[in-house]
Symmetry: C2
Subunit: 533 residues, 2 copies
C-alpha cells in the first residue's frame, strides 16, 4: 500500500482530505472526516487509558495562543527556526536542509557551506545567503496594534508554565506527570506528504517531572518489553528494555521507562513490532531544549517516519520560566531543611524614610533574596538599600532546585497515517484495514438483508440496542450484502451483522469477523456481547 493510494482512499471514504481545496488549498492543513474522527478518537482513548488513567497523569488543556514573553523565555523565539534560502533569479524559497543530502543532521555552518556550492533546482541560478525563518505563527492580541502573540509550537509549554499550579494539585509532591492533547502549529516552509509534515497538527504529550536526586526507577512490568534501538553511533540492537538500560544503551531510567511505555502503546493500537524502532538523535539533530532524545519511528513506503519523540529536557524549561517570569518554578528538596540566616526588610524604617515611595520599594524586593546593597528603581531614581534598612532573621529553609523532566511526545496525525498504511491488507479479492478492534473506527456493521418484511425495522432495533450497550455501530442497507461487506472492510469495521428472515423467527443473526471472514450464527444477545469491547 503506497502513499498515493492511502490518500485516495482517505479522501473517498471520509478519513481525511486536504483542507480548503475549494479555495485553491493551503498546504499543511487537513480536515478529518467522519471515519477519520472516529479513528483518531479511538487512538486518543487508548492513549488516555495508558497515560492518564493507568499511569495517573494529570491532564491539562491549555491556551493555544501565548504571549511573546513566554516564547522568549522558552527559547522558541530565538532558536525555533529553519534555514531558508531564496533563489537570486526565480525567487523561489527553499528549506536549505531539504536541498542537501543529510542536511537535517548538519550544523548550520556545514549546511551554509554545502548550500553555497549548489544552484537552484528550479532554474539553475545561485542562492541568496542562508537566513533563519522562525517557525511560529504570529498574531496580535487585542484592539489597535495589540500585543504580539504566537500560536504554540508544542503543547509542552502550557504544561511547563502550569507546573506550579499542577504541583499544588499534586499536593506539592514529586514525581508526577502531566499530559496534554491538543493542536500545535509550525509554519513549515515546505509542508508536504499530507498528514506527515503539517502546519497544524495534534500532539499527545506527557511531561514527567522528578527530582534529579530521585529519578523514578524502571518498573518491573516494563523491563521485559522488547524494543529495537538504534543508538547515536547507529548501532542497532533488539533486546528487552531492562537489558538495554542495564547495558548502558539508555542512560536514564525514566527515559527507559517512557521508551517502554511508548513501545507498548504503539503496539496496542496496531503498529507491528517489526516496523518499529527507536533512533537516538545525534548532537546536531537535537532540539535546543534537549539533552537526550529518541525518536520512535515506523517503517513505511516513504521510509522511517517519526511518530513519537522521547526527550530528556533536563531543567531547561522550568529554569527558563523561573528566570524569565515572576513566579517560583523551583521545588524544595526534601530532607535539606536547615536553619538559615536571611535578611528581611525593616518595614518601619523604610516607611519612615521613604514615605510615599515605601510601597514601590517593598513591592520591588518582595519575593527576592534580599541582601544589603540591593538597588531599587523608584520612579527612575536608583535607591540603594544598605543593612540599615534590613534585619537579620533565622528561618528553616530547604534547598530549592528545578525539577527535571522526561517527555514522550506523540504526533496523532502521523500515527493515524502510519496505522492506515501498515494495516492495509489485500488478497486480490478484497482490500481491508486490519486494525485491532480498539482502533477500528466502528465495532459493528448492522445490515438488514433487504429493506422489506420488517427486516430493516428489526435491524434498527438491534442498532439501538447495540448503541445502548456502548457498541459503536454503523447502519447500512444500500446494495448487496457483498457490496456492504466490501465497504465496511475498506474502513476497517471489525464485525458485520446480517439481519435476515430467520432473525424474525428465532432471534439469531449472522456475525462475520472482518479479518478471517468467519461467519457464525448467534443469538442477538450473544452476538452483541461478543462485539462489545
Amino acid at each position: 500500500m503506497d502513499f498515493q493510494k492511502i490518500i485516495a482512499v482517505a479522501t473517498r471514504r471520509g478519513i481525511f482530505q486536504p483542507a480548503f481545496d475549494a479555495y485553491g488549498g493551503l498546504a499543511g492543513f487537513i480536515d478529518y472526516g467522519p471515519v477519520g474522527v472516529k479513528m483518531r478518537r479511538r487512538i486518543l482513548e487508548t492513549w488516555r487509558k495508558h497515560y492518564v488513567i493507568d499511569a495517573g497523569c494529570l491532564e491539562l488543556d491549555g491556551a493555544l495562543i501565548g504571549p511573546e514573553a513566554l516564547f522568549q523565555a522558552s527559547g522558541h523565539l530565538g532558536e525555533f527556526d529553519d534555514a531558508l534560502v531564496d533563489c537570486n533569479d526565480c525567487n523561489k524559497q527553499f528549506r536549505a536542509d531539504h536541498l542537501i543530502e543529510g542536511g537535517e543532521e548538519m550544523s548550520r555552518k556545514d549546511l551554509g557551506m554545502a548550500i553555497s556550492k549548489i544552484t537552484c533546482p528550479s532554474c539553475g541560478s545561485s542562492f541568496s545567503e542562508m537566513t533563519s525563518f522562525n517557525l511560529m505563527f504570529s498574531t496580535n492580541v487585542g484592539a489597535g496594534k495589540g500585543l504580539p502573540g504566537y500560536l504554540r509550537p508544542e503543547t509542552a509549554q502550557s504544561i511547563f508554565l502550569a507546573f506550579p499550579w499542577l504541583l499544588r494539585q499534586n499536593r506539592g509532591k514529586l514525581p508526577f506527570a502531566a499530559a496534554q492533547v491538543g493542536r500545535s502549529f509550525r509554519n513549515e516552509i515546505s509542508p508536504r506528504q499530507g498528514p506527515l509534515r503539517m502546519r497544524e497538527f495534534t500532539q499527545m504529550e506527557v511531561e514527567h517531572f522528578f527530582l534529579p536526586s530521585n529519578e523514578p526507577t524502571l518498573p518491573d512490568d516494563l523491563r521485559n518489553i522488547t524494543i529495537t534501538l538504534l543508538d547515536a553511533s547507529e548501532k542497532e540492537t533488539t533486546s528487552t528494555i531492562g537489558e538495554a538500560f542495564d547495558g548502558g544503551i539508555i542512560s536514564s531510567s525514566l527515559v527507559a521507562c517512557h521508551l517502554a511505555r511508548a513501545q507498548r502503546f504503539l503496539t496496542t493500537i496496531g503498529v507491528s513490532n517489526e516496523k518499529l524502532r527507536f533512533r537516538q538523535h545525534g548532537s546536531n539533530e537535537m532540539a535546543h531544549y534537549s539533552s537526550d532524545c529518541w525518536d520512535g519511528e515506523i517503517n513505511t513506503s516513504l521510509g522511517w517516519v517519526e511518530v513519537v519523540g522521547v526527550a530528556h529536557r533536563g531543567d531547561y524549561d522550568l529554569s527558563a520560566h523561573g528566570k524569565g517570569s515572576s513566579r517560583e518554578f523551583r521545588v524544595a528538596v526534601p530532607g535539606t531543611e536547615k536553619e538559615t540566616e536571611i535578611w528581611v526588610p525593616d518595614i518601619g524604617k523604610i516607611g519612615r524614610e521613604f514615605k510615599g515611595d515605601a510601597k514601590i520599594i517593598l513591592e520591588a524586593i518582595k519575593d527576592t533574596e534580599l541582601k544589603p546593597g540591593v538597588t531599587v528603581d523608584v520612579n527612575g531614581t536608583k535607591v540603594e538599600l544598605n543593612s540599615d534598612y534590613m534585619v537579620q532573621k533565622t528561618e528553616r529553609r530547604s534547598e530549592m532546585v528545578y525539577a527535571n523532566v522526561v517527555e514522550p511526545s506523540f504526533g496523532l496525525d502521523r500515527i493515524l497515517y502510519c496505522l492506515l498504511e501498515s494495516s492495509w491488507k489485500g488478497d486480490g479479492e478484497r482490500e481491508w484495514i486490519s486494525l485491532p478492534q480498539e482502533t477500528s473506527p466502528y465495532d459493528l456493521l448492522v445490515a438488514p438483508l433487504m429493506t422489506k418484511d420488517g427486516l430493516d425495522d428489526k435491524a434498527h432495533e438491534i442498532m439501538k440496542s447495540a448503541i445502548d450497550n456502548g457498541v459503536d455501530a454503523y447502519y447500512d442497507e444500500a446494495g448487496s450484502i457483498g457490496r456492504r461487506y466490501a465497504r465496511a472492510d475498506e474502513i476497517g469495521i471489525f464485525f458485520s451483522m446480517t439481519v435476515d428472515h430467520q432473525t424474525l423467527e428465532d432471534g439469531t443473526v449472522t456475525l462475520r469477523e472482518r479479518d478471517s471472514k468467519d461467519q457464525s450464527r448467534l443469538s442477538i444477545k450473544d452476538a452483541l456481547s461478543k462485539v462489545r469491547r
Copy 2:
C-alpha cells in the same frame, strides 16, 4: 454561589485558572486543570452521545487556520466586527456597545449617535469617531511575507466548506447533519468574566442540512419536551415544544427540533429547567448570516448567560461558498430531473483552431454552464467562443439548489462555568458540587481508612479493579476520612468508598453517596456495580 468564589475554587482545585499569569497574564485565555479537563470531557461525551451517536451526525475535525478567500466569502472579513472608540485624551479603547445601556441590541447608527453624547468613563474627555474592529486573529502562512490567514471565528465554516465532501460520505442524500467540536478564536476588545467572554474558546456545533422543500418535521419524541421561550416581542411562554411550534411561536420545524434537543441535552448534564430559557434575537442583534436565532440562556449570579445559539442560517453560507469558490455547493432536487438542451464544447474544432491554447480554453470552460458568446482569457488575450465551437446536446438534468441549514452552537467553556455555579450546594457544614454522575469529574473516591495493615494495598487493588471496569476513580489516602470526603465533595466526586479492617475480613466496603451522605455496607463487587455508569 457567586462568580468570585467559583473562580477561587476553580483555581484552588485545578478546574481552571487564568493562563500566563507568570508572564503578567493575557486576558481572554484560560488553562483547564486535571479536574476541569475531566468535567469538560464528561460534558463532551454526553454531547457526542446526544448528537453524534443518537442523532447520527457525521463528525468533522477541520483546520483552525484558514485562508483569506474563505473568510471573504463567509462574510467574516467584512462584517464580523465590533464598534470601537478611542478616548481623544487618555487613548483608552472601549467597545462602544459596552458603554451604552442596551448597546448590544442597537444598530451601528444609533450606537454612534449615543456614543457622541457621552465622554470617556476613565478621564471624562471626548471620544474619537467610532471605528470597526475585525474580531478575527490574523496571521501569515508560509515563509517570507506568506499568505494572509485567519484563526477561525466559529467551527461552522469548516463544516460548510466540507459540505460537498460530507454529502458524498452520506451518499448524496439530504437531510444530514454534521457535528464538530473544537477551538474557535475571537479577538475580543474587552474580554472579561473569566470563562464567559474568551478570546479562545471551545465550540460544539451542529450544521443540519436540508432541502427547503423537504424540511425535517418535529419528531414525536421531542414534541413533549417543556421549554421556556422569550420571543422577539419579549413575550415569555412556558409550554411543550409541540405547542410552541403549532402555535407559531417557532416558525421552523427544524429550529423547534433543535431547541428541544438543546433543552434535553442541557438538562441531562445538570442544568435545572427553572434556570433555562430560550430567547429570540431581535433583528438588530442577529449575526450577518442568520435569519432567525434563539439563545439558550442560563440564569446565573451575573444575569442570563448565553450557552447555546440555535440559528436558522438559510442558504447564506453554502451559497456564499458556491459563489466565492470553484466548487459546486448546490444539490440536485429529487423529482425535478428533465430533458434539457445544453451546449458542450466541440473539442475537435477547438483543438484544430487553437492548437497549443486549446487546453487552456477547455480548462477555463470546464464545470461552467456553456453558452455561445462566452469569452475566455488566453494568456491575457480575450477569446470569444461563438456557437461554431459548440454542439447542442440533450441531457437529463435536475434543478440545482443550495441546501438550507439550522445550527445549534454550544459554548463549552460557558456551559462548564454555569454548571459549576448552578450545581454548587452548601448546608453550613459542607460545600459540594451536586452534578449528575454523568458530568461529575470522577465516579468514585477510593480511600483506605489508614495507610497500614495492608488497607492501602487493598485500596489500590480495588482502584485497579474499578478502573478495569470503566469506573473513573480517584485515590486519596491523606488526612482524616472527613477531610477526604470534604475534598471529594468540593469537586463533586459522586461516590466515596472507604476500605477498613472489616474489608480485609469479609470483603465489604462503605459506600457513601455525595448528595445524601447516605452510607451503606456492600460487597466490593456490589459497590462497583452500583458505581459503574
